[in-house]
């Protein structure tokens, strides 16, 4: 869905600065000499599309 909206905005040149953000929370294992990010985490945080509306470009 967001991909479709992004493509529509981009192709019709009615928006600029179009971005799709995905937020993640990265957990870390904290142990002596074994501190590293967790290799697996949750993957259903959702996506945020942001854009700025502009006037349609003239051909």
């Amino acid at each position: 869905m967001l991909i479709g909206i992004e493509k529509y905005l981009f192709d019709n040149k009615i928006a600029i600065d179009i971005k799709i953000h995905e937020t993640i929370t990265r957990e870390y294992q904290i142990l002596t000499l074994r501190t590293h990010p967790e290799m697996n985490n949750k993957g259903y945080s959702g996506y945020v599309l942001t854009a700025i509306k502009v006037d349609k470009a003239e051909k």
């Binding site: 909206i5 937020t23 959702g46 996506y47 945020v48």
Partner: protein
Amino acid sequence: MDSLSTILNYTNLGENAKTIIYEDTSGFLTTALAQRSSVNANIVSLYDGKIRGKNSCLLNLTENDKIVITYLKLDILMNPKTTYHNIFSRFYLNSFDNLLLCLKTEENLVQIFFSLFPYLRLCGMIVIFSTQLQVTY
């Protein structure tokens, strides 16, 4: 909560900011936006007719009368034949500073976006939250 902070961060909430919101989170985003807003904010919150997006958190905002929250049924704006749609279009076309959509389900997202997009002014901010990136069948 991280997604909420991203949504609020990208929304322009200056003085006299006018925001149109459609959400299916029972007023959660509307409340967060109202609390973040500065003086003279104007928020139009759309709901789908089943759940009015007003919850008890908004009762804390009654001291600040400068934040105006208007609740409208989405069906009114989606149906162009109604009188109310014509009145709303006449007064609010190209007038909103922010367009926020927050949907947990993917149905009607594109249709709602195209219906509300004309109400956003030029240089207005579009912020859409969805749990789905692409269409799933």
